[in-house]
């Protein structure tokens, strides 16, 4: 049994956990920071998502988080001293509407995006098909496009963060599962499968699994788990230059630089199951062909599943809980693309008690008890 003491214990070594750890180590040299993860490298949601990042959102905070994060991705190779790069590709995101109602949502969101200087534009169906000839015209009424949106490799972002963290003397331990948290004087004690860990402060970055850990301290947070499934094809000729999202098909499409096309197809489900479900492909294939007839002949290489978090307003939850020194960062299924900004904001909050960022006021865990929730409209979730 080992007994360790740290300034900050971060639970979860996904994009949020590692980014928060790296920012903390940069902010305060010598801080004793431990990141634990029950799985192995990139085995959770950050290693299972569709790999995209976009600034096209309908709510100002989501836009701001993603603007800042996009700037980070553009220079990540230098900032994280990772010469291999993170396979950044800024081929744009095309958000599609297949009904007048969806088009109205896109137009409303465009106004908010322009207020923040996001270079997005409205396209008619002809423009959309011109940009992506593989696209079908069934019910298509238009879309919005932002050329600065794009993709990174989740694996390389995680590996670059992991290596940068370890260079900054952050202790990152995989295969370490936190069974229970308890208060210990002014700090905390975490019971893990390898012993116990003491820390002054704790940051929970386990996304959909946050409620389980909070329950051991008598707290609750309205976070649900949402299983999703993805498909990757064999590499094929370039057919889908920008990333596509169809709000009505509940599909996102991303042709990565190697030529494979990644589809994330959402279904209304609940649970924590990451295994591929037997009926998924037959459910997804007709929708995919309806959206993109030009990929019908492309062979599917593999499918996989992942679990993301779902909050009542579909916005992240960032901040301190009712227990002093206990913090949460829940992504609401956009962890990878907001992780740089969230890392910076959370590190300032936890190490310097900097609460000035408007993001923290609006996205705090307290909002579910007070105030009215505003739901993010630009989602392809069923």
């Amino acid at each position: 049994m080992t007994k360790d003491k740290f300034d900050v214990l971060i639970i979860g070594a996904g994009a949020y956990g590692l980014s928060c750890a790296w920012w903390m180590a940069k902010r305060r040299a010598g801080a004793r920071i431990l990141v634990v993860d029950e799985g192995e490298f990139a085995s959770g949601a950050s290693g299972r998502n569709g790999a995209g990042f976009r600034m096209q959102w309908g709510l100002d905070l989501n836009i701001r988080l993603c603007q800042e994060s996009t700037r980070f991705f553009e220079t990540a190779a230098e900032q994280l001293d990772y010469p291999r790069g993170i396979e950044l590709k800024q081929g744009g995101y095309l958000v599609l509407a297949h009904s007048e109602k969806a088009l109205a949502t896109l137009k409303g969101s465009l106004e908010v995006q322009h207020r923040y200087g996001v270079p997005s534009e409205l396209l008619n169906p002809d423009d959309c098909v011109k940009m992506v000839p593989a696209l079908g015209r069934n019910r298509l009424v238009g879309g919005t496009f932002c050329g600065k949106d794009g993709t990174i490799s989740p694996f390389l972002l995680l590996d670059s963060l992991l290596k940068a963290c370890r260079r900054e003397k952050v202790d990152v331990r995989y295969g370490t599962r936190v069974e229970k948290l308890e208060r210990n004087g002014g700090g905390f004690r975490a019971h893990v499968n390898t012993g116990s860990i003491e820390a002054d402060k704790i940051l929970l970055c386990t996304d959909w699994a946050v409620p389980e850990l909070l329950a051991s301290l008598g707290l609750n947070l309205p976070v649900k788990s949402l299983p999703k499934e993805a498909i990757v094809t064999v590499p094929c000729t370039p057919r889908v230059k920008p990333i596509l999202i169809s709000l009505e098909h509940h599909i996102s499409v991303n042709q990565v630089s190697r030529g494979s096309i990644v589809f994330v197809v959402s279904r209304a489900r609940e649970g924590k199951e990451i295994a591929s479900t037997p009926d998924f492909l037959a459910f997804a294939a007709p929708k995919i062909i309806d959206l993109l007839p030009g990929v019908a002949d492309v062979p599917v290489l593999r499918t996989w599943g992942g679990v993301s978090s779902l909050t009542p307003d579909m916005q992240p939850i960032l901040g301190e809980t009712e227990i002093e020194g206990l913090y949460v960062a829940v992504s609401s299924f956009r962890g990878l693309m907001t992780s740089p900004a969230v890392g910076r904001i959370m590190s300032a909050l936890i190490l310097e008690n900097d609460t000035n960022d408007p993001v923290l006021t609006k996205l705090s865990p307290r909002r579910f008890r007070t105030g009215e929730l505003i739901v993010e409209p630009l989602l392809n979730q069923e």
């Binding site: 192995e40 295994a275 037997p278 492909l281 294939a285 062909i289 599917v300 593999r302």
Partner: protein, 467 residues
């Protein structure tokens, strides 16, 4: 009600299982990738290709007998040639692609008899055109009656290199050298086993005679360490290997050739059985990751059976017995499998299987690879051919603490490509063991698809009629 059995694979195990299940009154669906039944070992040429077979008459007789038994029941089974199972699920569903459509089967029991693929130890130059698997070269001869090269070097371990060398000679080819890691005399250390397999051994001796009479250069204890050539293979460097698998300095010989056919034993096609959630174990000598099975081929998942080489390398004769036993066990209600009636009915086949398995002990002795042999893989050697991943990258990933096959994959993409890791994962497991002293304990998570299938075919899916 008639019991529905689905069999995957039409090699010796699959064919024998089908014959037995039909005999017991089951409704059988047999799915196979090949155009004709037979699998790898009993591969049949297209009927239009007349001409000789180059295998031993006794072996050909075994092949004809089993295929004839299968042909006798073929009208009573739903036989799907050129069909691919791309996924199986823990709920018992089998998803297959055939032509331009897909279909879901929901049998009462499934028998997975997917056989083995060949194992390679990558070495510098192994991706040059002209380097292929020995069994692949043999398949060209069997199915297309084509000589894969004019002047061949055959190398590896176990009996297959000898057999392929002899068959290529009989087909008119020239063998520049036959290099074997171990002498087949290693089998003499298992005299009892040899007696059980004396008939097979006799066939082996005839192949040996073919090779000897042709005056082929035979190098025992030698392996290919480098394939040399520009656009195509021109020569191979062979060198002697010591007991730890290290190259003995000063023993290198360069031999001109246009074909290098290698075989370092076999890897089980166990991805489908693993997808059912069956408990797996690893035994590199007999195929790597294998389902844990009992005498009747039962896996840890009810209704899922495994038979033949895919459940652990055992040879065609054992596979055929396996097929009969597993075919019988899958045909009766699960409560009857351990019962006295079935035991009595199968006693003779079980005893015969045990005799054939005994001979396999001797064969296995010739297949044992010293772990150090994997040092043939240099940093520059491409290990994952689909994603073009060199060993140097894999070694770095291992060194930075990514130990499991899943973690290595997430780091360098090995196993993410077209073949789904079928070619490289056994190599990465061995290389990880060599580099870190610990073999990976888990296989890379097998996921659909076992084979790529177009969206259009998936969208045209036929569901099984409700039972």
């Amino acid at each position: 009600m008639q019991r529905a059995i689905a069999i995957i694979g039409a090699g010796p195990a699959g064919m024998a299982a089908a014959v037995e299940a039909v005999r017991r009154g089951c409704r059988v669906t047999l799915v196979d990738e090949g155009p004709r039944p037979g699998g790898q070992i009993y591969r049949q040429a297209h009927p239009s290709l007349a001409g000789g077979e180059f295998a031993e008459p006794a072996e050909l007789a075994r092949k004809r007998r089993l295929i004839a038994a299968f042909q006798a029941v073929i009208d009573r089974i739903d036989y799907r040639a050129e069909a691919t199972v791309y996924a199986v699920f823990p709920n018992g569903e089998i998803h297959l692609a055939q032509g331009d459509r897909t279909e879901v089967l929901r049998p009462d029991a499934m028998i997975i008899a997917t056989g083995v693929r060949e194992q390679a130890i990558p070495f510098p130059g192994w991706t040059l055109p002209g380097v292929m698997f020995a069994g692949g070269a043999q398949a060209m001869l069997k199915a297309q009656r084509v000589l894969p090269g004019r002047n061949a070097v055959i190398a590896g371990c176990g009996p297959l290199p000898l057999v392929v060398a002899a068959q290529l000679l009989r087909a008119g080819g020239r063998i520049a050298a036959l290099a074997s890691l171990r002498s087949l005399r290693t089998m003499l250390r298992h005299p009892g086993s040899l007696w059980s397999g004396r008939h097979i051994l006799r066939e082996g001796l005839r192949y040996e005679r073919t090779v000897r009479r042709a005056g082929v250069l035979q190098l025992t204890g030698y392996v290919p360490v480098r394939a040399i050539g520009g656009e195509h293979l021109e020569a191979v460097a062979l060198a002697r290997i010591d007991a730890e698998g290290r190259v003995v300095p000063g023993t290198e010989q360069r031999i001109a050739c246009d074909l290098l056919a290698i075989n370092y034993g076999f890897v089980a096609n166990s991805e489908l059985v693993a997808m059912t959630g069956a408990e797996m174990r690893r035994d590199p000598l007999i195929g790597g990751w294998l389902p844990v099975i009992d005498t009747f081929g039962r896996t840890s998942v009810p209704g899922v059976f495994a038979a033949g080489d895919g459940a652990g390398l055992r040879g065609a004769l054992v596979a055929e017995c396996d097929g009969t036993i597993v075919g019988a066990a899958a045909s009766v209600p699960s409560t009857a499998v351990g019962g006295a009636t079935l035991q009595a009915e199968l006693a003779e086949t079980v005893a015969r299987r045990a005799r054939h398995l005994d001979f396999q002990q001797a064969v296995r002795a010739t297949l044992r690879l010293p772990l150090g042999l994997w040092r043939l893989v240099t940093d520059e050697t491409v290990v994952c051919r689909c994603e073009n991943v060199r060993f140097g990258e894999i070694r770095e990933a291992l060194a930075s603490g990514h130990r499991s096959l899943n973690a290595v994959k997430r780091n360098v993409r090995s196993g993410m490509g077209w073949c789904g890791g079928r070619t490289c994962l056994h190599a990465i497991a061995a290389l990880a063991e060599l580099a870190t002293g610990e073999a990976p304990t888990e296989m890379m998570t097998p996921r659909p698809m076992a084979r790529p299938v177009p969206f259009a075919a998936i969208a045209r899916q036929k569901k099984a009629a409700a039972e």
